[in-house]
Assembly symmetry: C2
Amino acid sequence: MDRDFFTERDSEAVVISRSGPKAEPRVKEIVDSLVRHLHAVVKEPEPTLDEWLAAISFLTRTGKLCTDWRQEFILLSDVLGISMLVETINNRKTSGETESTVLGPFHVAGAPHYDNGANICRDGKGTPLFVSGRVLDTEDKPIAGASLDVWQANDDGFYDVQQKGTQPDNNLRGIFTSDRDGRFHFRSAYPHYYPIPADGTAGDLLRALDRDQYRPAHIHFIVSAPGFRPVTTHLFTPDCPWLKKDAVFGVKQSLIADFRKSNDAVLAKALGVTAPFYEVAWDFILGRA
Amino acid sequence: MDRDFFTERDSEAVVISRSGPKAEPRVKEIVDSLVRHLHAVVKEPEPTLDEWLAAISFLTRTGKLCTDWRQEFILLSDVLGISMLVETINNRKTSGETESTVLGPFHVAGAPHYDNGANICRDGKGTPLFVSGRVLDTEDKPIAGASLDVWQANDDGFYDVQQKGTQPDNNLRGIFTSDRDGRFHFRSAYPHYYPIPADGTAGDLLRALDRDQYRPAHIHFIVSAPGFRPVTTHLFTPDCPWLKKDAVFGVKQSLIADFRKSNDAVLAKALGVTAPFYEVAWDFILGRA
Protein backbone atom coordinates (compact mmCIF):
# COMPACT_ATOMS: atom_id res chain seq x y z
CA MET A 1 0.00 0.00 0.00
CA ASP A 2 1.24 3.47 -0.90
CA ARG A 3 0.86 5.64 2.20
CA ASP A 4 2.67 8.64 0.76
CA PHE A 5 -0.55 10.26 -0.39
CA PHE A 6 -4.08 10.47 0.95
CA THR A 7 -6.71 8.09 -0.39
CA GLU A 8 -10.27 7.65 0.84
CA ARG A 9 -9.84 3.91 1.23
CA ASP A 10 -6.66 3.98 3.29
CA SER A 11 -7.20 7.33 5.00
CA GLU A 12 -6.70 5.97 8.57
CA ALA A 13 -3.52 4.13 7.65
CA VAL A 14 -2.07 7.19 5.92
CA VAL A 15 -2.62 9.35 9.02
CA ILE A 16 -1.34 6.71 11.44
CA SER A 17 1.77 6.02 9.33
CA ARG A 18 2.86 9.65 9.63
CA SER A 19 4.04 9.46 13.27
CA GLY A 20 7.80 9.55 13.74
CA PRO A 21 10.09 7.27 15.75
CA LYS A 22 10.08 9.62 18.73
CA ALA A 23 6.28 9.59 19.16
CA GLU A 24 5.21 9.15 22.81
CA PRO A 25 4.05 5.51 22.75
CA ARG A 26 0.95 5.93 24.92
CA VAL A 27 -0.20 9.09 23.11
CA LYS A 28 0.30 7.29 19.80
CA GLU A 29 -1.66 4.24 20.99
CA ILE A 30 -4.64 6.35 22.06
CA VAL A 31 -4.57 8.75 19.08
CA ASP A 32 -4.18 5.89 16.57
CA SER A 33 -7.29 4.27 18.02
CA LEU A 34 -9.08 7.63 17.87
CA VAL A 35 -8.04 8.18 14.23
CA ARG A 36 -9.27 4.73 13.17
CA HIS A 37 -12.62 5.27 14.83
CA LEU A 38 -13.16 8.92 13.86
CA HIS A 39 -12.44 8.06 10.22
CA ALA A 40 -14.99 5.23 10.53
CA VAL A 41 -17.53 7.76 11.85
CA VAL A 42 -16.94 9.87 8.72
CA LYS A 43 -17.20 6.83 6.46
CA GLU A 44 -20.44 5.53 7.98
CA PRO A 45 -22.92 8.45 7.98
CA GLU A 46 -20.79 10.43 5.49
CA PRO A 47 -21.35 13.91 6.94
CA THR A 48 -21.72 16.78 4.47
CA LEU A 49 -19.35 19.73 4.67
CA ASP A 50 -22.10 21.70 6.44
CA GLU A 51 -22.56 18.90 9.01
CA TRP A 52 -18.81 18.82 9.59
CA LEU A 53 -18.82 22.60 10.11
CA ALA A 54 -21.76 22.21 12.54
CA ALA A 55 -19.68 19.69 14.53
CA ILE A 56 -16.72 22.13 14.59
CA SER A 57 -19.06 24.86 15.82
CA PHE A 58 -20.58 22.54 18.49
CA LEU A 59 -17.13 21.67 19.87
CA THR A 60 -16.08 25.33 19.83
CA ARG A 61 -19.21 26.38 21.77
CA THR A 62 -18.57 23.56 24.25
CA GLY A 63 -15.08 24.91 24.90
CA LYS A 64 -16.36 28.47 25.29
CA LEU A 65 -18.87 27.29 27.96
CA CYS A 66 -16.10 25.92 30.19
CA THR A 67 -15.21 28.04 33.21
CA ASP A 68 -13.64 27.42 36.62
CA TRP A 69 -17.04 26.26 37.88
CA ARG A 70 -18.47 24.59 34.77
CA GLN A 71 -16.95 21.83 32.62
CA GLU A 72 -19.17 21.29 29.59
CA PHE A 73 -16.80 18.74 27.98
CA ILE A 74 -17.12 16.54 31.10
CA LEU A 75 -20.90 16.93 30.93
CA LEU A 76 -20.77 15.95 27.25
CA SER A 77 -18.61 12.94 28.15
CA ASP A 78 -21.19 12.09 30.84
CA VAL A 79 -24.24 12.18 28.57
CA LEU A 80 -22.45 10.10 25.91
CA GLY A 81 -21.71 7.41 28.52
CA ILE A 82 -17.95 7.94 28.14
CA SER A 83 -17.35 9.02 31.75
CA MET A 84 -19.21 6.00 33.12
CA LEU A 85 -17.30 3.66 30.80
CA VAL A 86 -13.91 5.10 31.80
CA GLU A 87 -14.87 4.85 35.49
CA THR A 88 -16.05 1.25 35.10
CA ILE A 89 -13.02 0.09 33.12
CA ASN A 90 -10.70 1.56 35.73
CA ASN A 91 -12.58 -0.05 38.62
CA ARG A 92 -13.52 -3.55 37.55
CA LYS A 93 -14.81 -5.44 40.57
CA THR A 94 -14.45 -9.05 41.55
CA SER A 95 -15.42 -11.18 44.56
CA GLY A 96 -18.55 -9.21 45.40
CA GLU A 97 -16.90 -5.82 45.93
CA THR A 98 -19.29 -2.85 45.82
CA GLU A 99 -19.44 -1.51 42.26
CA SER A 100 -18.33 2.02 41.42
CA THR A 101 -20.08 4.79 39.57
CA VAL A 102 -19.28 8.34 38.47
CA LEU A 103 -17.83 10.84 40.95
CA GLY A 104 -19.81 13.73 39.49
CA PRO A 105 -18.89 17.42 39.79
CA PHE A 106 -20.27 18.12 43.29
CA HIS A 107 -17.82 16.33 45.59
CA VAL A 108 -16.01 18.72 47.94
CA ALA A 109 -12.73 17.72 49.58
CA GLY A 110 -12.58 18.42 53.32
CA ALA A 111 -16.23 17.96 54.34
CA PRO A 112 -16.87 17.97 58.13
CA HIS A 113 -16.10 14.82 60.13
CA TYR A 114 -19.02 13.54 62.22
CA ASP A 115 -19.61 10.89 64.85
CA ASN A 116 -21.99 8.13 63.90
CA GLY A 117 -25.58 9.21 64.36
CA ALA A 118 -25.10 12.81 63.24
CA ASN A 119 -27.67 14.51 61.01
CA ILE A 120 -26.12 16.01 57.83
CA CYS A 121 -29.39 17.62 56.71
CA ARG A 122 -28.95 21.26 57.75
CA ASP A 123 -31.82 22.85 55.81
CA GLY A 124 -34.57 20.71 57.34
CA LYS A 125 -36.12 20.01 53.94
CA GLY A 126 -37.47 16.68 52.74
CA THR A 127 -38.46 13.43 54.44
CA PRO A 128 -36.04 12.27 57.18
CA LEU A 129 -33.77 9.35 56.32
CA PHE A 130 -31.85 6.97 58.58
CA VAL A 131 -28.84 5.30 56.92
CA SER A 132 -26.95 2.42 58.55
CA GLY A 133 -24.73 -0.45 57.51
CA ARG A 134 -21.31 -1.99 57.65
CA VAL A 135 -18.01 -1.81 55.79
CA LEU A 136 -16.80 -5.35 55.08
CA ASP A 137 -14.00 -7.12 53.26
CA THR A 138 -14.76 -9.69 50.57
CA GLU A 139 -14.82 -12.44 53.23
CA ASP A 140 -17.57 -10.66 55.18
CA LYS A 141 -15.19 -9.53 57.91
CA PRO A 142 -15.82 -6.03 59.31
CA ILE A 143 -13.39 -3.22 58.48
CA ALA A 144 -13.00 -0.91 61.48
CA GLY A 145 -11.97 2.72 60.97
CA ALA A 146 -13.13 2.92 57.34
CA SER A 147 -13.93 6.42 56.09
CA LEU A 148 -17.33 7.12 54.46
CA ASP A 149 -17.42 10.46 52.60
CA VAL A 150 -21.11 11.18 51.93
CA TRP A 151 -22.86 13.88 49.85
CA GLN A 152 -26.21 14.39 48.16
CA ALA A 153 -28.60 16.98 46.71
CA ASN A 154 -31.29 18.53 48.89
CA ASP A 155 -35.04 18.08 48.53
CA ASP A 156 -35.13 20.81 45.85
CA GLY A 157 -32.61 18.83 43.76
CA PHE A 158 -29.56 21.06 44.32
CA TYR A 159 -26.22 20.48 46.02
CA ASP A 160 -25.06 23.04 48.60
CA VAL A 161 -22.29 24.23 46.25
CA GLN A 162 -24.88 25.00 43.56
CA GLN A 163 -26.76 27.29 45.96
CA LYS A 164 -24.08 28.99 48.00
CA GLY A 165 -25.71 31.55 50.27
CA THR A 166 -29.11 29.87 49.89
CA GLN A 167 -28.35 26.49 51.44
CA PRO A 168 -26.40 26.20 54.71
CA ASP A 169 -22.68 25.48 54.18
CA ASN A 170 -21.94 21.76 54.07
CA ASN A 171 -25.63 20.94 53.83
CA LEU A 172 -26.02 17.21 53.18
CA ARG A 173 -22.32 16.32 53.19
CA GLY A 174 -19.98 14.84 55.81
CA ILE A 175 -17.42 12.16 56.62
CA PHE A 176 -18.19 9.21 58.96
CA THR A 177 -15.97 6.45 60.34
CA SER A 178 -16.92 2.79 60.81
CA ASP A 179 -16.72 1.48 64.41
CA ARG A 180 -14.91 -1.62 65.69
CA ASP A 181 -17.61 -3.83 64.16
CA GLY A 182 -17.39 -2.02 60.80
CA ARG A 183 -20.71 -0.29 61.51
CA PHE A 184 -21.80 3.25 60.60
CA HIS A 185 -25.06 5.19 60.82
CA PHE A 186 -26.21 8.74 60.18
CA ARG A 187 -29.30 10.84 59.53
CA SER A 188 -30.07 12.74 56.34
CA ALA A 189 -33.02 13.48 54.00
CA TYR A 190 -34.57 11.19 51.40
CA PRO A 191 -32.78 12.16 48.17
CA HIS A 192 -34.53 13.78 45.24
CA TYR A 193 -33.92 13.48 41.50
CA TYR A 194 -32.60 16.53 39.63
CA PRO A 195 -31.86 17.77 36.09
CA ILE A 196 -28.30 18.15 34.84
CA PRO A 197 -27.40 21.65 33.54
CA ALA A 198 -29.18 21.66 30.16
CA ASP A 199 -28.55 25.22 28.95
CA GLY A 200 -25.36 24.35 27.03
CA THR A 201 -24.26 22.05 24.22
CA ALA A 202 -24.86 18.88 26.28
CA GLY A 203 -28.47 20.03 26.73
CA ASP A 204 -28.72 20.81 23.01
CA LEU A 205 -27.59 17.27 22.27
CA LEU A 206 -30.08 15.70 24.70
CA ARG A 207 -32.92 17.69 23.12
CA ALA A 208 -31.88 16.77 19.56
CA LEU A 209 -31.87 13.09 20.61
CA ASP A 210 -35.19 13.39 22.49
CA ARG A 211 -33.45 12.22 25.67
CA ASP A 212 -34.25 12.92 29.33
CA GLN A 213 -32.20 15.41 31.38
CA TYR A 214 -32.59 13.87 34.85
CA ARG A 215 -30.41 12.02 37.29
CA PRO A 216 -32.38 9.60 39.49
CA ALA A 217 -32.32 10.21 43.26
CA HIS A 218 -29.09 9.01 44.90
CA ILE A 219 -26.61 9.47 47.71
CA HIS A 220 -22.88 9.67 46.90
CA PHE A 221 -20.25 7.73 48.86
CA ILE A 222 -16.50 7.40 48.75
CA VAL A 223 -15.62 4.51 51.08
CA SER A 224 -11.96 3.90 51.88
CA ALA A 225 -9.79 2.09 54.42
CA PRO A 226 -6.04 1.47 54.73
CA GLY A 227 -5.03 -1.68 52.87
CA PHE A 228 -8.19 -1.72 50.74
CA ARG A 229 -9.15 -0.36 47.35
CA PRO A 230 -11.45 2.66 47.79
CA VAL A 231 -14.81 2.77 46.01
CA THR A 232 -16.56 5.85 44.58
CA THR A 233 -20.23 5.00 44.26
CA HIS A 234 -23.91 5.96 44.77
CA LEU A 235 -26.90 4.38 46.48
CA PHE A 236 -30.05 4.77 44.37
CA THR A 237 -33.62 4.79 45.69
CA PRO A 238 -35.70 1.98 44.16
CA ASP A 239 -38.79 3.94 43.15
CA CYS A 240 -37.41 7.00 41.35
CA PRO A 241 -39.15 7.60 37.99
CA TRP A 242 -35.76 8.35 36.38
CA LEU A 243 -34.01 5.20 37.63
CA LYS A 244 -33.90 3.60 34.18
CA LYS A 245 -33.28 6.89 32.37
CA ASP A 246 -30.23 8.38 34.13
CA ALA A 247 -28.93 11.13 31.78
CA VAL A 248 -25.33 10.14 32.65
CA PHE A 249 -25.81 6.33 32.85
CA GLY A 250 -24.61 6.16 36.48
CA VAL A 251 -27.07 3.48 37.62
CA LYS A 252 -25.87 -0.07 38.06
CA GLN A 253 -28.42 -2.63 39.16
CA SER A 254 -26.29 -3.63 42.16
CA LEU A 255 -26.44 -0.07 43.53
CA ILE A 256 -30.23 0.15 43.89
CA ALA A 257 -30.91 -0.05 47.63
CA ASP A 258 -33.94 -1.01 49.65
CA PHE A 259 -35.05 2.36 51.04
CA ARG A 260 -38.13 1.62 53.18
CA LYS A 261 -40.74 4.10 54.29
CA SER A 262 -41.97 3.86 57.89
CA ASN A 263 -44.71 5.50 59.94
CA ASP A 264 -43.48 3.94 63.20
CA ALA A 265 -43.32 6.92 65.59
CA VAL A 266 -41.64 4.89 68.36
CA LEU A 267 -38.88 3.67 66.05
CA ALA A 268 -38.55 7.19 64.66
CA LYS A 269 -37.95 8.56 68.14
CA ALA A 270 -35.38 5.86 68.86
CA LEU A 271 -33.51 6.75 65.65
CA GLY A 272 -33.67 10.50 66.26
CA VAL A 273 -36.01 11.30 63.36
CA THR A 274 -39.72 12.06 62.99
CA ALA A 275 -42.30 9.83 61.30
CA PRO A 276 -42.93 9.35 58.45
CA PHE A 277 -39.31 8.61 57.59
CA TYR A 278 -37.19 6.38 55.34
CA GLU A 279 -34.52 3.94 56.41
CA VAL A 280 -31.91 2.09 54.41
CA ALA A 281 -29.36 -0.50 55.52
CA TRP A 282 -26.40 -1.10 53.23
CA ASP A 283 -23.09 -2.92 53.48
CA PHE A 284 -20.09 -1.70 51.46
CA ILE A 285 -17.64 -4.42 50.40
CA LEU A 286 -14.02 -3.39 49.76
CA GLY A 287 -11.34 -5.50 48.07
CA ARG A 288 -7.78 -5.66 49.38
CA ALA A 289 -5.36 -3.26 47.72
CA MET B 1 -30.39 -7.75 26.61
CA ASP B 2 -31.30 -5.51 29.53
CA ARG B 3 -30.58 -1.92 28.49
CA ASP B 4 -32.14 -0.31 31.55
CA PHE B 5 -28.81 -0.12 33.35
CA PHE B 6 -25.23 0.55 32.33
CA THR B 7 -22.90 -2.40 31.76
CA GLU B 8 -19.36 -2.32 30.40
CA ARG B 9 -20.15 -4.94 27.76
CA ASP B 10 -23.23 -3.25 26.32
CA SER B 11 -22.29 0.35 27.08
CA GLU B 12 -22.79 1.59 23.49
CA ALA B 13 -26.18 -0.09 23.15
CA VAL B 14 -27.37 1.33 26.48
CA VAL B 15 -26.49 4.89 25.40
CA ILE B 16 -27.95 4.50 21.90
CA SER B 17 -31.19 2.96 23.22
CA ARG B 18 -31.89 6.05 25.32
CA SER B 19 -32.94 8.32 22.40
CA GLY B 20 -36.65 9.05 22.21
CA PRO B 21 -39.09 8.77 19.29
CA LYS B 22 -38.75 12.46 18.46
CA ALA B 23 -34.96 12.34 17.98
CA GLU B 24 -33.79 14.19 14.85
CA PRO B 25 -33.00 11.23 12.56
CA ARG B 26 -29.82 12.61 11.01
CA VAL B 27 -28.40 13.79 14.37
CA LYS B 28 -29.19 10.38 15.83
CA GLU B 29 -27.52 8.58 12.91
CA ILE B 30 -24.31 10.57 13.31
CA VAL B 31 -24.24 10.56 17.14
CA ASP B 32 -25.01 6.82 17.30
CA SER B 33 -22.04 6.16 15.05
CA LEU B 34 -19.92 8.47 17.21
CA VAL B 35 -21.04 6.72 20.42
CA ARG B 36 -20.20 3.27 19.04
CA HIS B 37 -16.76 4.40 17.97
CA LEU B 38 -15.87 6.55 20.99
CA HIS B 39 -16.81 3.66 23.31
CA ALA B 40 -14.56 1.43 21.21
CA VAL B 41 -11.73 3.94 21.67
CA VAL B 42 -12.20 3.67 25.46
CA LYS B 43 -12.34 -0.13 25.29
CA GLU B 44 -9.19 -0.49 23.17
CA PRO B 45 -6.43 1.51 24.92
CA GLU B 46 -8.44 1.70 28.18
CA PRO B 47 -7.48 5.24 29.23
CA THR B 48 -6.90 5.86 32.92
CA LEU B 49 -8.97 8.51 34.70
CA ASP B 50 -5.97 10.85 34.46
CA GLU B 51 -5.70 10.26 30.71
CA TRP B 52 -9.43 10.93 30.33
CA LEU B 53 -9.01 14.18 32.27
CA ALA B 54 -6.04 15.11 30.05
CA ALA B 55 -8.30 14.62 27.01
CA ILE B 56 -10.99 16.85 28.58
CA SER B 57 -8.35 19.50 29.26
CA PHE B 58 -6.98 19.22 25.68
CA LEU B 59 -10.45 19.77 24.18
CA THR B 60 -11.11 22.67 26.54
CA ARG B 61 -7.84 24.38 25.59
CA THR B 62 -8.67 23.82 21.92
CA GLY B 63 -11.98 25.62 22.39
CA LYS B 64 -10.34 28.49 24.26
CA LEU B 65 -7.87 29.00 21.37
CA CYS B 66 -10.68 29.62 18.86
CA THR B 67 -11.24 33.25 17.88
CA ASP B 68 -12.73 35.07 14.91
CA TRP B 69 -9.45 34.62 13.07
CA ARG B 70 -8.29 31.24 14.38
CA GLN B 71 -10.15 27.91 14.36
CA GLU B 72 -8.11 25.36 16.31
CA PHE B 73 -10.78 22.62 16.04
CA ILE B 74 -10.56 22.85 12.24
CA LEU B 75 -6.77 22.67 12.48
CA LEU B 76 -7.13 19.61 14.73
CA SER B 77 -9.55 18.07 12.22
CA ASP B 78 -6.98 18.85 9.50
CA VAL B 79 -4.01 17.18 11.21
CA LEU B 80 -6.10 14.09 12.04
CA GLY B 81 -7.01 13.72 8.35
CA ILE B 82 -10.72 14.28 9.11
CA SER B 83 -11.07 17.44 7.01
CA MET B 84 -9.48 15.77 3.98
CA LEU B 85 -11.69 12.71 4.38
CA VAL B 86 -14.89 14.78 4.63
CA GLU B 87 -13.82 16.81 1.57
CA THR B 88 -13.02 13.67 -0.43
CA ILE B 89 -16.23 11.83 0.49
CA ASN B 90 -18.29 14.83 -0.53
CA ASN B 91 -16.48 15.23 -3.85
CA ARG B 92 -15.93 11.76 -5.25
CA LYS B 93 -14.74 12.12 -8.84
CA THR B 94 -15.45 9.99 -11.85
CA SER B 95 -14.57 10.16 -15.55
CA GLY B 96 -11.25 11.89 -15.06
CA GLU B 97 -12.55 14.99 -13.29
CA THR B 98 -9.87 16.97 -11.44
CA GLU B 99 -9.69 15.74 -7.83
CA SER B 100 -10.47 18.06 -4.92
CA THR B 101 -8.50 18.84 -1.79
CA VAL B 102 -8.99 20.96 1.32
CA LEU B 103 -10.10 24.59 1.04
CA GLY B 104 -7.89 25.68 3.93
CA PRO B 105 -8.43 28.80 6.05
CA PHE B 106 -6.87 31.40 3.73
CA HIS B 107 -9.41 31.73 0.92
CA VAL B 108 -10.90 35.23 0.68
CA ALA B 109 -14.20 35.83 -1.08
CA GLY B 110 -14.16 38.73 -3.51
CA ALA B 111 -10.55 38.67 -4.74
CA PRO B 112 -9.79 41.01 -7.69
CA HIS B 113 -10.81 39.94 -11.21
CA TYR B 114 -7.98 40.00 -13.75
CA ASP B 115 -7.58 39.57 -17.47
CA ASN B 116 -5.52 36.60 -18.59
CA GLY B 117 -1.82 37.36 -18.38
CA ALA B 118 -1.97 39.48 -15.22
CA ASN B 119 0.68 39.13 -12.51
CA ILE B 120 -0.81 38.41 -9.06
CA CYS B 121 2.57 38.64 -7.30
CA ARG B 122 2.53 42.13 -5.79
CA ASP B 123 5.47 41.84 -3.40
CA GLY B 124 8.05 40.91 -6.06
CA LYS B 125 9.42 38.07 -3.92
CA GLY B 126 10.40 34.60 -5.16
CA THR B 127 11.11 33.09 -8.55
CA PRO B 128 8.69 34.16 -11.32
CA LEU B 129 6.10 31.60 -12.41
CA PHE B 130 4.02 31.38 -15.57
CA VAL B 131 0.82 29.33 -15.24
CA SER B 132 -1.30 28.33 -18.23
CA GLY B 133 -3.84 25.70 -19.16
CA ARG B 134 -7.40 24.93 -20.10
CA VAL B 135 -10.69 24.23 -18.43
CA LEU B 136 -12.28 21.17 -20.09
CA ASP B 137 -15.31 18.94 -19.67
CA THR B 138 -14.89 15.18 -19.25
CA GLU B 139 -15.02 14.76 -23.03
CA ASP B 140 -12.04 17.08 -23.52
CA LYS B 141 -14.22 19.90 -24.84
CA PRO B 142 -13.20 23.41 -23.74
CA ILE B 143 -15.36 25.28 -21.23
CA ALA B 144 -15.41 29.00 -22.06
CA GLY B 145 -16.10 31.56 -19.33
CA ALA B 146 -15.05 29.30 -16.44
CA SER B 147 -13.93 31.13 -13.29
CA LEU B 148 -10.54 30.30 -11.73
CA ASP B 149 -10.17 31.68 -8.19
CA VAL B 150 -6.45 31.45 -7.37
CA TRP B 151 -4.50 32.05 -4.13
CA GLN B 152 -1.18 31.04 -2.62
CA ALA B 153 1.40 31.87 0.05
CA ASN B 154 4.30 34.21 -0.76
CA ASP B 155 7.97 33.27 -0.91
CA ASP B 156 8.25 33.65 2.88
CA GLY B 157 5.47 31.04 3.38
CA PHE B 158 2.68 33.42 4.45
CA TYR B 159 -0.65 34.38 2.89
CA ASP B 160 -1.46 38.08 2.56
CA VAL B 161 -4.18 37.79 5.24
CA GLN B 162 -1.60 36.44 7.71
CA GLN B 163 0.56 39.51 7.23
CA LYS B 164 -1.86 42.38 6.83
CA GLY B 165 0.07 45.63 6.64
CA THR B 166 3.27 43.77 5.74
CA GLN B 167 2.23 42.22 2.43
CA PRO B 168 0.39 44.27 -0.21
CA ASP B 169 -3.40 43.72 -0.12
CA ASN B 170 -4.51 40.85 -2.37
CA ASN B 171 -0.92 39.72 -2.85
CA LEU B 172 -0.95 36.41 -4.72
CA ARG B 173 -4.69 36.08 -5.15
CA GLY B 174 -7.08 36.83 -8.02
CA ILE B 175 -9.86 35.53 -10.24
CA PHE B 176 -9.34 34.67 -13.92
CA THR B 177 -11.78 33.63 -16.65
CA SER B 178 -11.18 31.04 -19.35
CA ASP B 179 -11.38 32.34 -22.95
CA ARG B 180 -13.48 30.95 -25.84
CA ASP B 181 -11.04 28.03 -26.17
CA GLY B 182 -11.18 27.30 -22.41
CA ARG B 183 -7.70 28.74 -22.00
CA PHE B 184 -6.30 30.78 -19.10
CA HIS B 185 -2.85 32.09 -18.20
CA PHE B 186 -1.37 34.30 -15.49
CA ARG B 187 1.88 35.21 -13.79
CA SER B 188 2.76 34.57 -10.16
CA ALA B 189 5.69 33.37 -7.98
CA TYR B 190 6.91 29.81 -7.47
CA PRO B 191 5.12 28.68 -4.30
CA HIS B 192 6.93 27.92 -1.07
CA TYR B 193 6.16 25.37 1.66
CA TYR B 194 5.11 26.67 5.08
CA PRO B 195 4.38 25.47 8.64
CA ILE B 196 0.81 25.32 9.96
CA PRO B 197 0.25 27.30 13.22
CA ALA B 198 1.90 25.01 15.78
CA ASP B 199 1.60 27.07 18.96
CA GLY B 200 -1.74 25.50 20.03
CA THR B 201 -3.15 22.07 20.80
CA ALA B 202 -2.80 20.87 17.18
CA GLY B 203 0.91 21.67 17.42
CA ASP B 204 1.11 19.90 20.79
CA LEU B 205 -0.41 16.81 19.19
CA LEU B 206 2.00 16.88 16.23
CA ARG B 207 4.97 17.15 18.61
CA ALA B 208 3.72 14.29 20.82
CA LEU B 209 3.38 12.12 17.70
CA ASP B 210 6.77 13.22 16.30
CA ARG B 211 5.03 14.47 13.17
CA ASP B 212 6.03 17.24 10.76
CA GLN B 213 4.31 20.64 10.79
CA TYR B 214 4.67 21.60 7.13
CA ARG B 215 2.39 21.93 4.15
CA PRO B 216 4.18 21.26 0.86
CA ALA B 217 4.32 24.12 -1.68
CA HIS B 218 1.05 24.56 -3.59
CA ILE B 219 -1.28 26.94 -5.41
CA HIS B 220 -5.00 26.93 -4.49
CA PHE B 221 -7.74 26.94 -7.14
CA ILE B 222 -11.52 26.97 -7.12
CA VAL B 223 -12.61 26.32 -10.70
CA SER B 224 -16.28 26.71 -11.56
CA ALA B 225 -18.52 27.16 -14.59
CA PRO B 226 -22.31 27.26 -15.08
CA GLY B 227 -23.70 23.74 -15.59
CA PHE B 228 -20.62 22.05 -14.09
CA ARG B 229 -19.63 20.84 -10.62
CA PRO B 230 -17.03 23.23 -9.17
CA VAL B 231 -13.74 21.86 -7.85
CA THR B 232 -11.73 23.15 -4.86
CA THR B 233 -8.19 21.93 -5.31
CA HIS B 234 -4.42 22.64 -5.24
CA LEU B 235 -1.55 22.22 -7.65
CA PHE B 236 1.55 20.90 -5.91
CA THR B 237 5.14 21.37 -7.04
CA PRO B 238 6.87 18.04 -7.71
CA ASP B 239 10.10 18.61 -5.81
CA CYS B 240 9.00 19.93 -2.43
CA PRO B 241 10.68 18.11 0.49
CA TRP B 242 7.30 18.01 2.33
CA LEU B 243 5.30 16.55 -0.57
CA LYS B 244 4.90 13.15 1.11
CA LYS B 245 4.58 14.62 4.61
CA ASP B 246 1.76 17.17 4.30
CA ALA B 247 0.65 17.92 7.90
CA VAL B 248 -3.00 18.07 6.75
CA PHE B 249 -2.90 15.22 4.15
CA GLY B 250 -3.99 17.48 1.30
CA VAL B 251 -1.77 15.90 -1.37
CA LYS B 252 -3.30 13.58 -3.94
CA GLN B 253 -0.99 12.07 -6.47
CA SER B 254 -3.10 13.38 -9.37
CA LEU B 255 -2.54 16.97 -8.18
CA ILE B 256 1.25 17.00 -8.46
CA ALA B 257 2.03 19.15 -11.49
CA ASP B 258 5.02 19.39 -13.77
CA PHE B 259 6.50 22.76 -12.77
CA ARG B 260 9.54 23.25 -15.01
CA LYS B 261 12.43 25.61 -14.43
CA SER B 262 13.74 27.58 -17.41
CA ASN B 263 16.69 29.88 -18.06
CA ASP B 264 15.43 30.88 -21.52
CA ALA B 265 15.63 34.69 -21.47
CA VAL B 266 13.87 35.05 -24.84
CA LEU B 267 10.92 32.92 -23.73
CA ALA B 268 10.89 34.76 -20.39
CA LYS B 269 10.54 38.09 -22.18
CA ALA B 270 7.73 36.72 -24.36
CA LEU B 271 5.87 35.53 -21.24
CA GLY B 272 6.41 38.79 -19.36
CA VAL B 273 8.75 37.34 -16.69
CA THR B 274 12.51 37.33 -16.08
CA ALA B 275 14.79 34.29 -16.26
CA PRO B 276 15.27 32.07 -14.39
CA PHE B 277 11.56 31.29 -14.07
CA TYR B 278 9.19 28.34 -13.67
CA GLU B 279 6.31 27.43 -15.91
CA VAL B 280 3.48 24.99 -15.42
CA ALA B 281 0.71 23.94 -17.84
CA TRP B 282 -2.37 22.34 -16.31
CA ASP B 283 -5.85 21.41 -17.54
CA PHE B 284 -8.76 21.36 -15.10
CA ILE B 285 -11.51 18.84 -15.91
CA LEU B 286 -15.03 19.59 -14.62
CA GLY B 287 -17.95 17.15 -14.52
CA ARG B 288 -21.48 18.21 -15.51
CA ALA B 289 -23.70 19.23 -12.62
